[in-house]
Amino acid sequence: MKNNTSFLPQEGQARPSRCPDNSAFKQQKLPGWKPQLTVATVLSSFFLTGAFCLSVGVCLILSTNSVREIQIDYSDKCSGCSKLRENSSNWNKECHCSVNFTLKEDILGDVFMYYGLQNFYQNHRRYVISRSDAQLLGQNVNIQKSSCAPFTTYRNGTPMAPCGAIANSMFNDTIDLFYNLNSSVIQVPLLRTGNSWWTDKNVKFRNPKSYNLSSAFAGTARPPYWQKPVYLLDEEDERNNGYINDDFIIWMRVSAFATFRNLYRRVSRIRQFADGLPAGNYTFHISYNFPVTKFKGRKHVILSTVVWSGGNNPFLGIAYVVSGTAATLTGFVITAVHLKLRKKKTYFQK
């Protein structure tokens, strides 16, 4: 192939010299910065990193320490209910229970109420894919083609709305918080909306277009595990109903780990609760619908504040502190080695 070229009938102008260009690129002489691990750079990089990490770590730990959080496991506190839910035939029987707890001190600032699930593998591959984003966007799609199977249609052909295992297994406990102030029980005002991502609520999830919700979902059926159809998720607030129900949206954002929490409500900062939750006795009234015993799971309800760096997980701060310490110590080690070796001849000096 190569010497093919030489068979070209030699015509035309004289070929220019084959001498390569004497350009920096072609001669591999491009000016370049050659980083060198000299004593100065190495030591300064170690010490600077160390100092930086330590300071950031301290800030993080301090800010994480200001987070107040209370976590209550209620999966066994309503033992009757959990027994009841073990049998799925009792799906339409209601079960309520209440859990009391005491706040020793005020929780100031925005208080978020989460429900937590343990051992619930929302990240299971077949579970994660079992949804139809197009359907949730209000589009009239053939969900048979989506990956919702087997939660697509009933035997009679009625499609499920919403389809898929995620939607089907939606967390459906209702939790209310009551403040017991001097034997009077005040329901803590909780915000049901504004808990999900703005983009989810306004872009990613849309109800089918129709004059009202029930007609929009006409011809569809609720998922098998649900107690009520999707258009009755929030009967009070039209803008929190159907697919754009905040609880639903939050549930549909599948969690990364088997143990997770999802934002359920936020404490509305009005009246007594303008500064947060005051210290005192509280009661959760829980309508216990979500079975967890099947997978040896547990359910929690969590009240927590947040700071700029997230929740009360101190890991990041610790990580910074530890690595900062490590870097500093390494710096010292290298200094020691350097000082020791400098006297020897073999050590090539800059």
Partner: protein, 1466 residues
Amino acid sequence: MALSVDSALHRWRRLGARSPAQSLSESTPLLFSVRDKPKLNLNKWRIVFPNNGRQWKDWKQASTFYSGNRIQTTKYTWFTFLPQNLFEQFHRLGNLYFFFLVVLNLFPRVEVFHREITMLPLIVVLFASMIKDAVEEYRKYQFDKTINFSKTRVYDKEEHAYVERCWKDVRVGDFVQLQCNETIPADILLLYSSDQNGICHLETANLDGETNLKQRQVMMGFSSQNTFFEPEFFQSTIICEVPNNDLNKFKGYMEQPNHERVGFNIESLLLRGCTIRNTEVAIGIVIYAGHETKAMLNNNGPRYKRSKIERRINMDIFLCVGLLFVMCLVGAIGHGIWTGNFSEHPSYDVPDENGNFLSPVLAGFYMFLTMIILLQVLIPISLYVSIELVKLGQIFLIHNDIDLYDEEADLTIQCRALNITEDLGQIQYIFSDKTGTLTENKMVFRRCTVDGIEFSHQENAKRLETHKELDLADEDFAKLQRFTLPPTNIERPATYKQRTMRPLRRCQSARAHFQGHTRNRSLGRRDSNQSQVAFSSTIEKDVTPDNRLLRRVREAALQTETLSSFIHTKTSTTLTDFFLALAICNTVLVSTATEPRQRVTVPPSIKPSGITLEKIHQMFQRLKLASLSQSFSSSQSSSDLGASFSAKNTEEHLAALDCCDNDDVCCASSRGDEFQGKCSTDIGSASLDEVFKSVTSSSLPTDFCYEAESPDEAALVYAAQAYNFTLVSRTPEQVTVRLPQGTLMTFNILYTLGFDSVRKRMSVVVRHPLTKEIVVYTKGADSVIMDLLEDSAKDDISAEKRMKRIKEKTQKHLDCYARDGLRTLCIAKKVLNEDDFQKWANFRREAEAAIDNRDELLMETAQHLETKLTLLGATGIEDRLQDGVPDAIAALREAGIQIWVLTGDKQETAVNIAYSCKLLNQRDTLFTINTANKETCESLLNLTLEEVRKNYEVEKPQRKFFGIIPTSFSASEAPSPEFGLVIDGQTLNVIFQGGLEEKFLALTKHCRSVLCCRSTPLQKSMVVKLVRRQLKVMTLSIGDGANDVSMIQAADVGIGISGQEGMQAVMASDFAISRFKHLKKLLLVHGHWCYARLAKMVIYFFYKNVSYVNLLFWYQFFCGFSGSTMIDYWQMIFFNLLFTSTPPLLFGVLDRDVSADTLLALPELYKNGQNSEIYKPSTFIITMLDAFYQSLICFFVPYLTYKDSDIDVFSFGNPINTISLLTILLHQALEMKTWTLFQLVTMIGSVVFYLVFSLIYNAACVVCNPPTNPYWIMEKQLSDPTFYLLCLITPVIALLPRFFIFALRGTFGASLILKAQQLDKLPKEQKDLEIQKLRLRKQTTSGAPVASSASNDDLDQNASHLCASPFLHPAAAAGSHGDTESQGLSASEVNPPRKRTPEEGYYFFNRWAEEEYTATDSSTRPCSGHYPLVPSRVTTPGQDGGKLTKDNAKNFNHGSHQRSASAVTL
């Protein structure tokens, strides 16, 4: 009509169908009778009918069986491209793996990604390769098209004229008319040439790169020369061989209508692709067309080799497969257990479409497959694509290196193999050819011996010396100019031009002449001063004649003047014959400086013979007058004068012989001077000089240029010219020589028996114009010619004695020459009587017409003729060392490369070249093993081995005791006597056949260098293979000629030297360079870089893939081993494909760990690659561990951060993806040693591109990627401080250990590479100083002496004395001792550190091939007492150096030894 076609077919079939049985059974086809036609088989023969009016029917039938002239080098057509290309691509394992994954992903149960996503890599790879192929195909197609549509003139039978046609329409049997400077469209049998002798000149540069003209001749006996060729009258049928790829062989015959057969051979074939030169019109008939032409059949594609790194990669990929298997197994088992844990299926365990659940075992099995898909990237298929790209880049840069550009030849390095660049950095053994590789293959006439008298040509030697300096100065100048002037137009300084005798050089005029034509390529070459093959440089052209010889020649000339009186002394005729043979016995083409390439065929103005005699008389008259009038004292008549000369001559001659006998010094130049003195006083040369000057100036003042096929031929012709035997013109029939007398003598050439490597000689048979004798002049290798000499003249005893003496003398001189490193050729002649010649000529003619075993027959006839020769003399031609060779060899050796020289040359020549190019050091002990016997060979090997080992043991304590050696800088300086091994082809054969390979290798491992002399191409390749296989080392072969091809192919890396001896070596090579010295930069710099770059890149790729894939793997532990991913599929696919692909590629092409200067200054850095220090199993494992660590960090830091939070799957994956991108890029940044703008831009660009892509993708896609919808995740993350905090800390933690180790490594300062990097930063002067220091330290520790330039210098000084000094016989040593002494002293003055005392110098035992010496001189055996077992044994210098050295044994000091050799010959 139909009938006639049928009959034609029938005829054709009849011709074709005849079985070859008969012709095969015939022992000699010479006996073919005309009527008894040979039977032809189409499989064996090709029958060509001419395409003219008369035979077109036959032609039509036949031509359908032969391919047309359209060429198609493309692999596919428009329609077959897609399927065929796909088919070919799926032959690759990597693509099959992808395909397997795609198929796997089609099963819903195991599906991980969308089908499109899995297909993407496959499609990308397929598509990329397809585009590459398509572009290549298209270019080939275009190229074919240009060629196919080139025009040529073809005879048209209807129009009865030559009409213009495209090349593609040329058919076998067509008559093609070619004009000067046209390219030949097919393989054409020459039928007519406008040249009156039926010669057509070709330039085969397109075929083999040789620019000299080749002659092609209209086939003998086909004589329509005088009339213009008329195709219509051509009625013969041509029968010849079937197409084959041998460019040098072709045979066939033409059957004329009268059933007469005329044979032809390659001499009549015009090959496709060559260019017609110097011939106005040539007409021929197409024999082979298109793909059946010899050129096309020779046209091989580029070579494919697997490099060492690639072999390692494949191993490691198997490791990766193992790792993948383990990981998948973990996933499968984990999933099985996890599934089995549930007594009841939880709501997140989704059943299949029918609502069924799988059993844990089955689920585990499916999970195994799923995991394969998920973790597929673990097998770095992208690595292969990347490697190919990187190598392309590397080759581009190598190709563009200006230091590897040879101005003279206008050639850059050619990289023919595209995928073994990094092997250049790992070479451990170099096998080099000698001639043309280490030497220039520019032959310079150096000295000669005629009739047993040596003419040492001192002036010539001096001239060569000055030329060397001139060359150097010239080179510097060229270097200066390189950057200021376009190199093609460099004009040498005028002063330089003036210095040479003939200022008007060929090149300049050539350019002027050809400007109008299209001589572009060769023009570029010719422009440069030292031009190539065809055009000898000044150094070759100007031979300064030896005064003594010149005088003798003139005397002889005078005698021949007096031919009338026929005083016929032996010497004079021998001298004349000798130079005549030099001038005639060759195939040199003559052209003049003013009219290049217009060959001089007819001697201008003066017609030979008749006028010549007159001229002789005239001249003689003048001579007489001149002599009388001037200092010529004698008033004898001319005849008497001649007689007296001759008498004197013989006297002298005998005296010289006697002298030589006395002291064995064959090249006694001093004596020669004496003679000169005598001669000059006696003869009064001044007058003679004048006479000759006037004569020569009067006739033919033109400057002749000689174009020879081999450079030594030209050298001889130039040598003859220096003695005024000027070759004036040459045609196939005649050759004209201008004699010293100024007369032109025209010889009729009766036959020319060309040179071949079997006979090792060539002959011309001429008829002497005056005596009408038939003379055979033969020129050839001494070994051959010496055997063919006439045994002894029967007639008289004195003559016989004399002949014998001359023979002995000449042999001695030849040995001298060989030791001197000269190429020797013997010149002989033979006078035939008419009858014998006629007999032989008949025989020859028959042989020429034969078809079947013609070559053997021709050989036989040639051998028949070349017997009973009379020795005329011998010549020594110097093959000069290429410049930069010693330097390159020293550097390569310092780099830890073992260099072997494998040559077909004589032992002595090879050894001397080895010394002069620093391959051997003066202090080295040299072992020579020449034997044909297995037992002796074995015992010799054992013995030598023992000796070597002993020496190594001895060395160690010695170092301690002789701590202080004054010669050198530091303590441990007793340089261990290094060993050299010289072995010849015969011994090699014994070794190979006797199973002694291991011992041989064990010995060679201790040797500094190994020379294999007298080895055949096959042996060369066997040696290379032996070393490569047994020692498992990387080998490199370098050579320039066809005899090196097998060796080049046998080695891991084959390098061809282009431009000297044709293109075969280049064609077989992986890289083609133009000078040996380029090897230094190619290996030390490019090799090192390529290796370092590629090795680092490969390791990085493994690291990258493993560390990224492991992120997914770790996640499996948190998602029930269900095969979930937390990273969006597209971002994951693009991660490898886009975000992290460019920086490593650029890294692989551009990174410079150490600068080129430092690499060249510290060759030791090369050992880094040699020992595979960058990429070895341990590095691989460490990298893997590091990858695991980093992936753990990249996964678990975010995991722990987000644990128990409300993070969702893909929001969790996003920071992980980002973090690992940063980590992977920063890791690369740590590895990178040079940051140029490119690297910086791509590095930052990669991150920016990732961010921008993610932002856009995450904002644009609401439903586009259903299950893993990443909508708005990146945006959300970017507004979260945790994300930034994570992105800061994780890479730091991940890379901290690596950085720490780097820092420690720098602190402990272990590796030389690091030091070199530090050196790079220093300013120039300081750097040089440091390098000097470093090298010194290295020297002292390793003890490997860096051969100082001084040793080379004094070798050069020795050169003139060489015959006398180094290989002396002990007996003779005494005689020449004084000489060596002064030599040694003068050298020590020049070079104080290497001081040596005369007592210690030059003791030699030479038991070379000359058995008679060992027989006669018992003095060689005085010391056998040391090793009584072996009769002739290894001698360690000094220790048992015989009587002479025994006195000095106590002072014996290894360090100060001169060259020493131990030879063992049996």
